[in-house]
Amino acid sequence: GSTEKDTASESTSKAGKPLKVALLIPGNVGDKSFLDSAANGLTKMKDMLGAETKVVEMGMDQTKWEPTMSDISEQNYDVIVTGPWQVEEVLAEVAPRYPKKKYILFDSELDYASGKFGNVASLLYKQNEASFLAGALAAKVTNSDMPLATKSNVIGFVGGMDIPVINDFLVSYIQGAKYVNPNIKVAVSYIGDFVDSAKGKEMALAQYNEKADVIYNVASQAGLGVLEGAKAKKKYVIGTDTDQAEIFKSTDPEKSELILTSILKQIDNSLLLAVKDMDHIKWGAAQSYGLKEGSVGMALNEFFKKNVPEGIRNELAAIQKKIESGEIKVDTGLGMSTDEIDKIKASVRP
Amino acid sequence: MDDHILKLEGITKVYPNGIVANKDVSFSVKVGEIHALMGENGAGKSTLMKMIFGIEKPDEGSIWLNGSQVEIKSPDAAIKLGIGMVHQHFMLVPSLTVTENMILGIEPTKRGFVDVQAAMRMTREIAEKYNLHVDPQAKVADLPVGMKQRIEILKALLRGAKILILDEPTAVLTPQETEELFKQLLLLKENGHTIIFISHKLKEIKDICNRITIMRAGRSVGVYEVDAVSEEDISRLMVGRDVVIKYDKQKNTPGATVLKIDKAGYMNAIGKQMVKGVSFEVREGEIVGIAGVEGNGQRELVDMIAGLSGWNSGEVLLQGQNTKSLSIRQIRELGMAHIPEDRMTFGVAREANIQDNLISNRVFDKRWGSFFLNKKRIKEMAEKSVENYRVKCESSEQIVQMLSGGNIQKVVVARELALSPKLLIADQPTRGIDIGAAEFIHKKLIELRDEGNAILLISADLNEVMELSDRLLVMYGGEVVAEFGEGRQVTEKELGLCMLGLNRTSENIGEQEEQVYGIRTQ
C-alpha cells in the first residue's frame, strides 16, 4: 500500500512538510568511521533542516541490501542516501525502477554516461589526498625532534583488511611519506577484520617494537586498539574518519595527546550540504570533494596544534596547497592490481 | 499397624511412550526379611523398584514407609529415607577409580579437599567386611563386569541402607562370590536390614529368601512364603507353563577344527600379560565352555577371537585362516558371531529400534537390498525374531532402550544366532534372562551345535557351562589351567577349586594342546 503514499509525499514535501531522508548503510553504525559519519550527517539534517530522518542498517549480508533498498524506495522518503562502493550495483538496479525518487550515493559513483541514473547524485571524496598528508606528517615526525620520536625512519600502517579501499589509503600514505623522505620505511599490517581491537593493539605493538614512531590506523573499530597500543608504548598515532582524539578527550586525555591528527572524510557535512542544496547539485553526475573543497583533510584540533611543531605544520600546509593546485598528483590504490600494490609495499619495507 | 516397613499400594506406571509397565501393583516387605521379586523379562520388576528408589515416579498409587505415606522424588530422597539400590545395569562412572565411585556423594573431606586416604580406607574396609574384593585404585573402565557388580553392591552397602534393593546382583557373579554375598545378606538381615532381591535363578531364591512376590505382565500375581512353594510352582506362576530345566542333549561327534588358538598372548595397555600362551581348539559340533573367575583373561581372549583387539604372540586361526590382519567384518564373514558380555556397551545401539539392532551384523548382505535397504524384508525378519525369542515389546519398531534388561539380551542373542554361525562366541548368553527364555536359548545353542557348528561358551553361571559344554576349560591367571570332558560330569566343587587356581590338570597345557581331551582332575 505504499504507492498512494508515494504520490502524496511528492506534493506535500514541496508544500512545506518536513523533508524525509533515509540513510541506508551496508553494515552497522558504531564503526567510529565513515558509516558513523554518514549517520551523523542525518543527525545534522534533523537538527539544522528539521528533516525527518531514518537510518537503516542493512547488515553485512549483501543479499539483503536489494530488498531493503527497494522497500525503502517504495516508502514516502524524499531522498535516499546510501554508500559507499559496496552498494553501487544494488543502487544501479534499484534507482531506475523508482525514477521519482532521489538518491544520493556517497563515496562511489555509477555509470552516469549511460544516462540511466538521472535521479542519482554521487559525492566522491579524495581520501587519498588526505592520506597523502598523513604519510607526509608521519615521515616528518619520525625524523623530528618531537619528544617521542626516535629518528628511526620507520613509520607504520595498520589496516583492517587487505582490501582495495584500505589499500587506497595505504598507497597514498606511502606516496606522501616518500614525498618528504624517499628513504622512509613503512611497516604494513592488516588485522584481518574490522572488529578485533585487541588484535589491533597487538599489531600496533609489533610495529612499535620494530621501531615505528608513528602508526596510521585505518581499521575502523579495530583501529581503536592501535590507539591503545600507542598509549602502552607512548608512541604517536594517526587516526581516520572520525576525530579520534576527540573521542577520548574527556575519558582518556593521555591517549588523545598521542593522536597527532585524524584523517577525515567529512561525509556528514557534505551530505548535509547536498541535501540542503538539492536543486543545485548535479544529478546524474558525480561531484568530487577533495582537500580543496574542505571535505577531506586532517583534523586540525587542539592536540595537533599543541603537539605537532609549527615547522611541520607549515610544511604540511604547503604540501596541501600543492595538492589542491594539482602540482602534486596523488595516486589512488583503487583500480590498482594486487601486484602493483605489492610492489609499492615492497619498496618501503623495513 | 503391621510390621511392613515398606508398602506400595495400587501403583501404576506408564512410561512416556505409553507403555504400562506396572498396573495397579501392591507390594510390601516386612522388616528384616529377604523378599524375592520374580517375573519374566519385562514383567515390570525393575520399574517397580525404580519407583521405590525415586528414579521413576508412579502415575498412580502410594508408597508407605514405616506406616506413613512418602513421596520419593529422587534417589537422593530415597537414600535419605534409608533405601539403597543395586541396579540391573551398572550405575558407575567408567573414568573414575573404584574409590571415587564408592564415595561419590559422600566424600570424606579434609580442609575442603577430598580426603583420598580416608576414602581408600573406607573402600578397603567395606570390601573386607563383606569379603567382596576390589582394587580401590583401579579405573572402573578397565574392570570386568563381575568386578563392577561387586562395586555396585559395596556402594549400596557403604551407604548403610535399611532397605536394600538388589536388582539381579548375581547375574554375573561366580558361585563363590554369590555364596559370599548371600552370607553377607543373611548377616544384614539378622541385623534388621530389609532386602528386596530380584533374580531369575530359582535356587538362589530358595536359598535365602523368606517371601516371594511374583509379577506377570505388569501385575502382581501373588505373594507367597518361599518355603510353601516349589521351584516348579514359581516358574509356572511366572511363565504360565512348566519349564524344563534339563535338556535332551545327545552325545556329540565333533568334526573339523573351526577355531584354533595357538599359544596366543595378550598384553594390556599397562603392560600386563593378560593371556599367556593359551592354546585350544573348537571343532564343528561341539560346545567348548570356559569357566573362570572374572578377570582371568576370558574377556581378552574373547576380544581377540572376535576381532575387537589384536594380540602380541601366537595365532588365532578361524576356519584355518589367521585373523590377525582381518577386519571384524572379514572375521564375521568367516562365520563368527559374538554375544558380548557387556550388552549395553557393545551389544546394542540403545537409541535405535529393534529392527535396526537386529540387522547390524548382516546389513551389507545383498539379501537386505543392494544399496537401499529393503525395509519390508527387514521388518518381516524382525517380527519373526521378536516372536521366536518372545521379546516383550510393542512392535519391532520400539526403541531398544525402552525394553527391559532381559529383553535387550534377547535381541542380541536373536541377532547373533540368526546367521547359524560356524563359530559362536557366547559370552554370558543368558545373563539376566528369565528361566523360560534361558531354556529357549539353551535349546538354540544345542540345536546350533547339532547342526555342526562350533560354540565357545563363557559364563559365570556354572550350571550353564556345566550343563551345556561338551568340553570344559578353566582359565586362571591368563592360562588354561584345567580341561575337562563333558561338563555334566564335573562337580561344582572340582570346578571351583580350579577356578581359584588351587588345582591344575596340566602344567604346560600350552605346549601339549594336541592330546588333552578327556583329562580329568583327580
Binding site: 537503516v56 553485512m60 549480508d61 549483501q62 543479499t63 536489494e66 530488498p67 531493503t68 527497494s70 522497500d71 525503502i72 516508502q75 559507499p84 562502493w85 559496496q86 563515496d107 562511489s108 583488511m161 587487505d162 582490501i163 582495495p164 579501499v165 587506497d168 577484520d193 583503487l334 583500480g335 594486487t338 | 501404576t12 506408564v14 512416556p16 511412550n17 505409553g18 507403555i19 504400562v20 502415575d59 498412580e60 575387537l308 577386519s327 571384524i328 567384518r329 572375521i331 559374538h338 558380548p340 556397551t345 557393545f346 546394542v348 545401539a349 540403545r350 537409541e351 535405535a352 535396526d356 540387522i359 547390524s360 551384523n361 546389513v363 537386505w368 537401499f372 535397504l373 510393542e394 512392535s395
Partner: protein, 359 residues
C-alpha cells in the same frame, strides 16, 4: 504405545503454544523499547507476507539454510561436531566463482559444473576432517573450527590474487557471466533455480540417511560407535562418508548462493550460514525431512526482523535478541512435558481398561 498421530498432534499443539509464548515475550520486549509496539510487531510477524517480494525474501533466504541444515544433519547424526559447514560454504562459493570466471562453458552446463566444483571443494574439506578423526582420532570440532579459517584465508588469497576486480572499491571478484548464473524462477522475487537443487538435495539426503545401508551405518555410529564396530561395520568409513557428504552439501550451498544471489563473489568473511545450518538442523531434530520447515522458519524470523528494523523504531540489535528468544523457546522440548505425560498415562490406562473389558 501411543500412536504416531497423537504424537504429531501433540507436537503441533506444543509448537503453537510455544510460538504464542515466544511472541508474547517478544511483544513485551518490543513494548519496552518501542513507541509503536503494535506496529513493530505487525511488521515483524506479518511483514514477510505483505508483498510477493517479501515472501520471496523468505524463500530466497531459506535456500542456503536448507543446504547447511542438511549438511549439519548428516554430520551430527554420526555424532560428529563438525563445524566445517561454515568454511565449506565459503570455499564452495569461491570455487564456483573460479569455474564461473575462468572456464567458458555453455549456458546450462556452466552452473552445473560450477556448483559441482563447489561441492567437491566442500567434500574435500569434509574428507580432511573426517579422515583425521577416523584415522587418528583428531578432534573434529577443533579441527573444523580451525580449518574454517584456513579455508577463509586461502579463499581470500585466491580472491585477491586471481579473481579480484580491481575496478571495485570493495573486495570482490569480476562479474559472474550470465552463462554461469542461476536463473530466477519467480517474477518479482530473486527466488532462483537453487531452490529446486535444495529440494532435491533434501530428498536425496533423506533417502540416503533413512533408506540406504550407509545411511544406516552413519546413524548407528551416532548412537553407539562401539556397537557398529563390533557388528563388523566400518566405523571409520561411516564417519568419513558422513563428513564428506556434509562438506559436499555445504559446498553446493555456497556455490548456489553465489551463483543465484550474487553478481560477483563478495564475501570477505565467513558468512555465518554454517552456524545457521546448525540452528536449522537442531530445530529439525537432525531429520533432513524437517529441514525445509525449520529453514523457512528461521528465514521468516530473519526477514520479519529486518522488515521490523527498517520500518519501525525497534533497533536492529533488539531483533537479534528476539530471534534468540524465539529459537530457545521453540526448541524447549521439556515444555509441557508433564502435561503430556499425564495425558499419555490417562490414555494408556484407559486403553488398557477397555482392553480388559473386551477380553
Amino acid at each position: 504405545m501411543e500412536s504416531e498421530r497423537s504424537k504429531v498432534l501433540f507436537e503441533i499443539v506444543r509448537t503453537v503454544v510455544t510460538v504464542a509464548i515466544a511472541l508474547l515475550l517478544a511483544f513485551v520486549f518490543i513494548l519496552i523499547v518501542s513507541k509503536e509496539p503494535s506496529k513493530a510487531l505487525y511488521q515483524f510477524m506479518v511483514g514477510p507476507f505483505l508483498s510477493v517480494r517479501n515472501m520471496g525474501n523468505v524463500i530466497e533466504l531459506s535456500i542456503p539454510f536448507i543446504f547447511t541444515g542438511i549438511a549439519a544433519c548428516i554430520m551430527f547424526q554420526a555424532r560428529q561436531f563438525n563445524m566445517i559447514g561454515e568454511g565449506a560454504f565459503f570455499f564452495g562459493g569461491i570455487m564456483a566463482t573460479v569455474v564461473a570466471l575462468k572456464i567458458t562453458l555453455p549456458m546450462g552446463i556452466h552452473p552445473i559444473v560450477a556448483i559441482l566444483m563447489g561441492g567437491i571443494a566442500g567434500a574435500v574439506s569434509g574428507y580432511f576432517i573426517g579422515y583425521c578423526k577416523a584415522k587418528w582420532g583428531a578432534n573434529e570440532f577443533v579441527n573444523s573450527l580451525m580449518f574454517n579459517y584456513v579455508l577463509l584465508y586461502a579463499g581470500l588469497y585466491m580472491l585477491i590474487n586471481f579473481l579480484r576486480d580491481p575496478k571495485k572499491g570493495q573486495l570482490s571478484s569480476f562479474l559472474i557471466p550470465d552463462s554461469a548464473q542461476l536463473p530466477k524462477i519467480v517474477d518479482g522475487t530473486r527466488i532462483h533455480v537453487g531452490l529446486f537443487i535444495a529440494i532435491i538435495a533434501v530428498i536425496l539426503t533423506y533417502l540416503f540417511m533413512y533408506k540406504t545401508k550407509w545411511g544406516y551405518a552413519i546413524r548407528m555410529t551416532g548412537f553407539n560407535a562401539k556397537f557398529v564396530a563390533y557388528s563388523g561395520i566400518n566405523v571409520a568409513a561411516a564417519i568419513v562418508i558422513s563428513q564428506v557428504a556434509g562438506g559436499f552439501l555445504a559446498g553446493i550451498g555456497g556455490a548456489t548462493q553465489i551463483l543465484g544471489m550474487h553478481q560477483r563473489f563478495e564475501w570477505s568473511t565467513l558468512t555465518g550460514y554454517g552456524f545457521d545450518g546448525i540452528i536449522v538442523a537442531t530445530l529439525a531434530r537432525l531429520n533432513p525431512a524437517f529441514v525445509p520447515v525449520a529453514a523457512l522458519f528461521l528465514a521468516f524470523l530473519r526477514t520479519g526482523a529486518d522488515i521490523m528494523a527498517r520500518n519501525s523504531d525497534v533497533p536492529s540489535e533488539v531483533v537479534l535478541i528476539i530471534q534468540a528468544i524465539m529459537i530457545i523457546l521453540i526448541s524447549a522440548s521439556g515444555f509441557m512435558a508433564k502435561w503430556r505425560q499425564r495425558m499419555i498415562a490417562r490414555k494408556s490406562k484407559h486403553a488398557e481398561e477397555q482392553g480388559a473389558i473386551a477380553c
